[in-house]
């Protein structure tokens, strides 16, 4: 008995000794060049033609590559060649059509994968050819793939028709679906606007020509998004989710600098250096997307991001990226403070501890942590439904003044302070900073708080003190939302209270998301709160949200305000295809002036992202867009290992004190018992 007890005590001690560390990683990795980042939502899909969330793109963009990429350091954003040799220029055809020629690099390979044995027995690798890029477009058109960007790429001549032919073939002949996917696409016939040529002569070509039915200069930005990442047809065929194989949405076969080593998306995702990447195989090419850039923009030199030792070095710098799934923000922050994550957001609860007044707190600064602030390319706003008889354009001057008055009552600074720890800047127009057309000095006269003016505007509108003469009571407006969470309720309460000061009775109508969507589709809403985050850095991507053609009730577009003003549409048409010149700037100014008066939106704020970076992580530059950045990061693993040890010495004495206390409680009890028994 005594022996067993002693053994148990010994085992407990050893177990405590072994388990007693808060290090979440194997000790073998302590000095490895690994980047540790948390992720709060598991990717839904790794299929580049389908993925449309930042969580998907964060993983995807490092594994797949696109024809074009963004310059890592330059602002405003600038496109650089990715898989292609140069950024293509549009070539106008006589009939209004426009052609882009993408010259793909020769000698780029997909990462080794067993799927390539389908094309040729025993093969594990294949060169990237232009038809792989075309295949990506065929997939976008394929209704079975369900790509969310078909509408955008339907500007490619014949793309949408291809999808329709494919659907018809599948419907007419059930056996058609059992054909291999590349055969199905072949039988569905060519796409007029997609022509590729691959030759192996002395001057090897590997090019894809894309014809658009009308000029659309922004299309190039879409070639820097994962939707246009070439995928090998073999992978789509092989990874079908049958016979123990993953589905294609769970298994990436790309050309990128990293490949996926582990994909347990509900706990961890591990990316490792891809030895087949063209940057690794051909460093002598000094390809723009595989070499550290030599030029930056303001602030990069001071931050050491264009140091001579860095410029021109081959990417990537880290050997591995360990992504850990963390749903809650507080554990992430704690682990960051323990040195186990290299980057972290600041949870709301700990905001004052980490940052005060927009700067790093002294406590954080003493740890060597750095704060990166970036204004996201996004705009949050309160929208009026312009087809509504009370608040919409049908009400004419009366409704316009009502909208103007309501706009004057909302204090964006206060909103940001109360709900977002001040993380954001009050919006003056739909355009966020960082975009062409954004003017820092511009102040929207209806986006300051001026209750006096608001009240007089209301009186002019025929609602003196907010009272509707038809009912004799406060004018009732419904604020529709599909978000029933407590946080949302508080936010809406803030807005409702602001309008109450004008005497208006705004009522929050919170329904299920679907019911809300349905209301918006039918145009049965009055006021709503929404946000838009840019797909690409061009003002067109924001200003189109108010164009008549995009009206929700008319054509199901994202213009949920149903703002439909011919003057605005004319300006929009003049602006959208222009290069960034003075005329474009002037046109944008005119559009802004129109929105200023018409007020289909009460622009609220552009969110600002606060990210903390450990001192041992180098070359970090916030982007505001989800683009491949990890290949540019570098880690000083030795410093990290030292800091982790120093920061994480376990405090052992409470364990011994607790054991002592337990004994002290038990021994007298047993002694008493034994005494009484005798």
């Amino acid at each position: 008995m005594n022996g067993a007890l002693r053994a148990a005590a010994l085992v407990a001690c050893i177990a405590f000794g072994v388990a007693c560390t808060n290090d979440p990683y194997p000790s073998a990795d302590a000095r490895a060049r690994v980047l540790y980042v948390p992720y709060s939502e598991a990717p839904k899909t790794l299929d580049p033609q389908v993925a449309y969330s930042v969580y998907d793109h964060e993983v995807l963009s490092n594994v797949y590559e696109t024809p074009l990429e963004y310059h890592y350091l330059k602002r405003p954003y600038e496109l650089i060649p990715g898989l292609v040799t140069e950024v293509p220029e549009p070539r106008a055809l006589g009939d209004g059509r426009v052609v882009y020629t993408f010259q793909l690099r020769r000698g780029v390979h997909f990462a080794s994968d067993p799927c390539f044995a389908i094309g040729e027995a025993g093969r594990t690798q294949r060169e990237l050819v232009a038809s792989d890029l075309a295949f990506a477009f065929q997939r976008i058109a394929d209704p079975k793939v369900g790509s969310p960007v078909l509408a955008t790429f339907s500007k490619i001549v014949g793309l949408a028709e291809f999808g329709k032919r494919l659907a018809k073939l599948r419907e007419d002949d059930p056996s058609f679906s059992s054909l291999r996917i590349d055969e199905q696409y072949q039988r569905a016939g060519p796409i007029e606007g997609l022509n590729w040529k691959v030759t192996d002569s002395w001057k090897a070509t590997n090019q894809l020509e894309i014809t658009l039915d009308a000029p659309y200069p922004q299309i190039l930005y879409w070639f820097a998004m994962p939707f246009t990442a070439p995928v090998p047809w073999e992978a789509v065929v092989y990874y079908d989710g049958e016979g123990g194989r993953d589905g294609f949405a769970e298994h990436a076969v790309g050309t990128g600098p990293f490949r996926i080593a582990r994909y347990q998306k509900r706990s961890r995702i591990v990316l490792e250096r891809n030895p087949d990447w063209y940057g690794a195989e051909h460093p002598e090419w000094r390809a723009p997307a595989a070499t550290y850039p030599s030029e930056g923009s303001a602030g990069d030199a001071e931050a050491g991001r264009v140091a001579p030792g860095l410029v021109g070095r081959a990417l990537p710098f880290v050997d591995r990226v360990e992504m850990r799934f963390e749903k809650e923000s507080i554990p992430v922050f704690t682990k960051f403070l323990q040195g186990y994550y290299d980057r972290s957001r600041i949870p709301k609860e700990s905001f004052d501890k980490a940052a005060s007044g927009g700067a790093l707190s002294p406590e954080m600064a003493s740890l060597g942590v750095q704060l990166e602030r970036t204004v996201t390319l996004g705009t949050y706003y309160i929208g009026f439904n312009m087809v509504d008889p009370v608040v919409g354009s049908a009400g004419g001057e009366r409704s316009r003044k009502l909208r103007q008055a309501m706009s004057l009552a909302i204090d964006a600074d206060e909103f940001l302070r109360v709900f977002l720890n001040g993380r954001g800047i009050p919006a003056q127009s739909p355009l966020p900073p960082g975009l062409f057309g954004y003017e820092e000095r511009y102040r929207n006269p209806f986006r300051t708080v001026d209750l006096e003016r608001a009240r007089s505007l209301l009186a002019e509108a025929g609602y003196p003190k907010g009272v509707d003469p038809a009912t004799g009571r406060a004018l009732r407006i419904s604020f529709d939302t599909g978000d029933t969470s407590v946080q949302a309720r508080l936010r809406y309460q803030f807005l409702v209270e602001s309008w109450r000061r004008l005497g208006l009775d705004v009522e929050v109508a919170a329904t299920s998301y679907n019911q809300f969507q349905d209301k918006v589709r039918r145009g049965a809403h009055q006021l709503y709160f929404w946000g838009w985050v840019a797909d690409y850095p061009d003002p067109e991507n924001f200003l189109f949200l108010l164009s008549g053609a995009m009206s929700q009730t008319k054509g199901g577009g994202p213009n949920s305000s149903n703002f439909d003003d011919p003057r605005y549409d004319a300006l929009f048409d003049a602006m959208k295809d222009r290069p960034n010149d003075a005329t474009r700037l002037e046109t944008i100014g005119a559009m802004r002036a129109l929105l200023e008066v018409e007020r289909p939106w009460i622009e609220l704020f552009h969110p600002e992202d606060y990210a903390l970076t450990q001192g041992w992580l180098h070359n970090v530059k916030a982007t505001g867009l989800t683009v491949p950045v990890w290949k540019y990061y570098d880690v000083d693993a030795a410093t990290r290992a030292e800091r982790r040890v120093a920061w994480n010495q376990p405090v052992r004495w409470p364990a011994f004190a607790l054991a002592g206390l337990g004994l002290a409680l038990l021994v007298p009890g047993i002694a008493t018992y034994l005494r009484e028994r005798h």
């Binding site: 078909l150 509900r266 749903k327």
Partner: protein
């Protein structure tokens, strides 16, 4: 006994059918597939993509009644799939649900099994201890502590444990999971410890009451009269007889070892079956949620039947029939 089991099984089948119909009403009629599609595809998805998603997932079929093909409805499909354990794919990310369940069982068991294997002996021995020292300060202090432990929410233990043992004392990682054997133990230590603390109070108090009730019985007095010592009386006489109510408490729990602990898994980031349920709720993944509720019902019925059978084994007086 066989007849009894058959009867129980028939009741169980009726219950399962009821659960299936209830799930259908809840997830197909009350919540609509468009809702799920929106969540799955994101805010910017155009209406055509939503429609295509519905077609691809079979949500475009008539709900209950299809005059042309009576069996080609969502109801028939739902019942057929559940009964055949063909769970299909997740609404959120198209991963086969069966695969997700297989992936989740290991992490769940790695928390629940140690919790069960350590928790039961711990609760039993603590209960024996306080019952042994009944009417002394150990007993009273024990009861007070148990009531205190029971009254505190599990969440407090979780957050408190993370703060104290993970952040302040730095004994364990505050959350996370890694099946790699070299680090698995340190990830499990904190959730298991927290789980033990959260459950032990109620269990000890219950077992103590059982033991005290048994130790007041005639056969205990007889044993003492025959000269058996306190320890022997407790171990040889009271414990075996007190096992019957203990068993009810325990056997019901066994099937649920597989479903994991929802709160522990969610807060400690353990990718088990318990957090699957929470994730499914948060991401409107109704396909997964239906499966989890259905499996929960099956396991509950199985647990009930297991308890009945176990009764007859430990207590010869109980006869099922």
């Amino acid at each position: 006994m066989l007849a009894y089991l058959l009867r129980r099984a028939a009741w169980g089948a009726a219950t399962v059918l009821g659960v299936l119909l209830f799930l259908f009403a809840l997830f197909f009629l009350y919540a609509t597939p468009q809702d799920i599609a929106r969540r799955a595809l994101g805010e910017k998805a155009p209406p055509e993509a939503i429609q295509q998603w519905l077609v691809n997932h079979g949500y475009d079929k008539p709900a209950v009644w299809n005059p042309e093909h009576p069996l080609d409805t969502r109801l028939a499909e739902h019942v057929r799939r559940m009964l055949l354990f063909e769970f299909g794919r997740s609404d959120a990310d198209d991963v086969p649900i069966a695969q997700r369940l297989r992936d989740g069982v290991g992490p769940s068991l790695s928390v629940t099994v140690p919790l069960f294997a350590l928790g039961l002996p711990l609760a039993l021995s603590l209960a024996l201890l306080v019952a042994f020292f009944r009417e002394t300060y150990i007993d009273r202090a024990g009861v007070v502590l148990c009531v205190l432990a029971m009254s505190v929410s599990v969440l407090v233990y979780i957050l408190g444990g993370q703060f104290l043992l993970g952040k302040l004392l730095r004994w364990f990682p505050i959350s996370g999971f890694d099946p790699d054997p070299s680090v698995l133990l340190r990830f499990l230590a904190l959730p298991v410890l927290v789980g033990l603390f959260a459950h032990v109070g109620a269990d000890v108090r219950f077992y103590r009451a059982v033991f005290l009730e048994e130790s007041g019985r005639d056969y205990v007095r007889t044993a003492r009269a025959k000269g058996a010592g306190d320890a022997r009386v407790m171990a040889r006489h009271v414990l075996p007889n007190a096992l019957i109510p203990v068993l009810t408490n325990v056997v019901v729990e066994i099937p649920f070892l597989f479903t994991g602990s929802i709160l522990l898994e969610s807060f400690f980031g353990i990718p088990g079956l318990g957090s699957i349920t929470v994730d499914a709720i948060q991401s409107n993944d109704f396909a997964t949620l239906r499966v989890m509720v259905y499996l929960g019902a099956l396991l509950f019925i199985a647990g009930q039947m297991l308890t009945d059978v176990a009764y007859t084994i430990v207590d010869p007086r109980v006869r099922l029939g």
